[in-house]
Symmetry: C3
Subunit: 306 residues, 3 copies
């Protein structure tokens, strides 16, 4: 039962619980009209202590498409709630007005602290560099959407794997499924952190580290792209030598599988050329839409209306 539960970390849910959310999400996509009223009379509060228009819109559209309503703020400055009052009191107050809360907070751990006091289900909409579980659910659902399975997959993650929280969460989440291989494609200085590498190795996940996307793109079922910023390279020579390896274009895609699914958490800058957008392997805009549908499924489950 997910009714009344919180979502702070993607691992808060069992694989069965995730599956039940994904099944409901699929049902919503196929019969959206049937869900237009299920949250009638319910209110979602979006408390965004740091701005994230994209994520806020996705939550709001999700609740509105379920027939619910939304209150919220989008920046600390515009919130007197932020001044002087404890987070606990804010959540108790907002929980008097709303039936469910999505909170984005710059401080790691704010949601874990918050659920102690929040009288209604609390969804972590991102806490600093730590977790962003609804993005992870979106990524998993989009992989499922593309391949109809979450096991027996070869997944490439490309770009800045050191600082990208979405990649870390995806790696941890996918490592719960059977027979998943990872190709980690990044410059040496932007490899995933040691603690995460050790955690994955303990689970006997097969991991291959690579410097160049073109060397391995033919092996992948899923390619998760992220941005590499120049200033994160240790030296200019490495940057010049490698930068083009982390930009996806139609040329590199020539060697890719026919059913490769390209994902990106967005926003992108130039790490995927726009010429790729019309390729049927480009799933990143469908991923955006899936994010809204997954949040619909999640909200409906936590509110217990489905």
């Amino acid at each position: 039962m997910l009714k009344g539960r919180n979502l702070v970390d993607p691992e808060d849910f069992t694989l069965e619980e995730l599956e039940s959310i994904f099944e409901l999400t699929q049902e919503i996509i196929e019969n959206e009209k049937d869900f237009n009223d299920v949250c009638r009379g319910k209110i979602l509060a979006t408390l965004f202590y740091e701005p994230s228009t994209r994520t806020k819109f996705s939550f709001e559209a999700a609740m509105l498409r379920l027939g619910g309503q939304v209150i919220g703020f989008s920046e600390p400055g515009s919130s007197s709630v932020a001044k002087g009052e404890s987070l606990a009191d804010t959540l108790r107050t907002v929980g008097a007005y709303a039936d469910i809360i999505a909170m984005r907070h710059p401080n790691e751990g704010a949601p874990i602290h918050g659920i102690e006091y929040c009288p209604v289900p609390l969804i972590n909409a991102g806490d600093g560099g730590h977790q962003h579980p609804t993005q992870t659910l979106t990524d998993l659902f989009t992989i499922l959407d593309a391949h109809k399975r979450l096991n027996n997959l070869t997944i490439g993650c490309c770009g800045d794997l050191k600082f990208g929280r979405t990649v870390h969460s995806l790696l941890k989440a996918m490592s719960r499924y059977e027979n998943v291989d990872f190709f980690l494609i990044s410059p040496h200085e932007l490899q995933i952190p040691d603690y995460l590498m050790n955690e994955l190795k303990r689970k006997n996940i097969k991991i291959h580290e690579e410097e160049r996307l073109e060397n391995v793109i033919d092996k992948l079922d899923v390619l998760y792209m992220t941005r590499v910023q120049k200033e994160r390279f240790f030296n200019e020579a490495d940057y010049v030598r490698l930068k083009d390896s982390y930009i996806l274009d139609l040329e590199k895609l020539k060697n890719a599988k026919e059913n490769l699914a390209i994902l990106h958490p967005l926003p992108r800058v130039n790490e995927i050329k726009i010429e790729v957008d019309d390729d049927k392997r480009a799933w990143y805009f469908r991923q955006v839409k899936n994010g809204m549908y997954v949040r619909m499924g999640l909200i409906a489950k936590l509110l217990g209306v489905r």
Copy 2:
């Protein structure tokens, strides 16, 4: 008839009119679902010329739970309406889009000026240090909720009684009911202003002034707590001598009546210790929820849908 009326000052309404709002509020609490549609097709505009997330959320949730909709802004900076245009023209314009307006404005008297031009009911959601009538309605309703009466009560107000507009409004509002005694608990320099004291005395209200909460807590049916800021004391010695008297903890509550109702307009800082939150005499979070329900009753009455 409250249909089409404005609310600028709590005394705009007769005791009978207040009673009709409180009766409707109680009906809403008991049968919330019956009211989910009564404002369908109506729009509330929340014009907040100074930020107050808590009050704005309360109005918005109230309208949404009645099946209505909301437009609004939360800060002067985000409103081009604020630039150059007269308040009269702004209200006429917004009154073309909305069916009812809740306005918070830093200038005392802005709402009194506004109702001359506003084509739809205008609710004062706070005008500077002057009035905040929906807070007063919330306080009255919560006292009624706790004691089932608004007469024959002993009410303590504790903390900064000089600058606290919620206390001033509550004193004036309660002085309209029969046989209400007041204990005003504050340091000498933070007593209620002379004009208010004289007004209350003219009405033959019984007023007792006290420096220490612990001396009188056993006599109270209602305790209205507010914050005392260090910088408002005249001298350090007084502050050191008295500061703990204005902090409510379980120790002080030992001598209080079993059915004492503790209220606070929130946000609190440390004037009520969190150990008090779970005591059944703590009514301040229920007061928050009542604030939303009272606003539902008020909006429904002013729009004439009930």
Copy 3:
């Protein structure tokens, strides 16, 4: 068929298409309740890259009164969407959440660029000094509302005709109808730009240029007022000599026709004295309300629900 179309420039629509929007608008005004549900389940996104509370409220109220819902932002600062991401990607993302988008952008041409990528209908809610087509539709509809026709009219435009985009758009829009005469009333230095004068002359529009409103007010069926700022005059002498000519008061109205319709895009400062507000020839507040109704008609048409 207007379903699925965009509105970037008022001339995107044929006269027949405009007429169909105005007919629907009239139907909505007469039977608003019949339209309370036609956009149920649909979402409008209001992307305001520069603030315009008035226009944003008008769009939002329009969508809400059709039974739809709204997401949006009101300032670039409050939008992480604005950072780094291309406008094309933003529109594709927001178009995954919303069914229709109203965008205000400081850059001329942003909407023309945007419709290439936007997966849902895009309405230009103002692009810099360039176009503001829903204002033009509002102006046309209000003239129609007042005179029951859009041809055989004498229209005065008064004030700053050089920089006022609403006047330019109105002139171009009205020049598409038969037998419309224009009186352009402004100081010499604030006459309409040459390119526009040439364009109108090519269409054989009758144009009379005047320095003083009082000289021609008796000839007008419509008077479109705009503000003249002191700093736009070339010299102090001209300003002193002419300034009162561009302020409409009851004195000047004595010579006007009984059925003159006074319009103003608002906000006004002092170019129309408030004594004029209660005159039956003052249509500018009804124009505000018409703006909401026209947007209701437009949204319903573009979404294909009517």
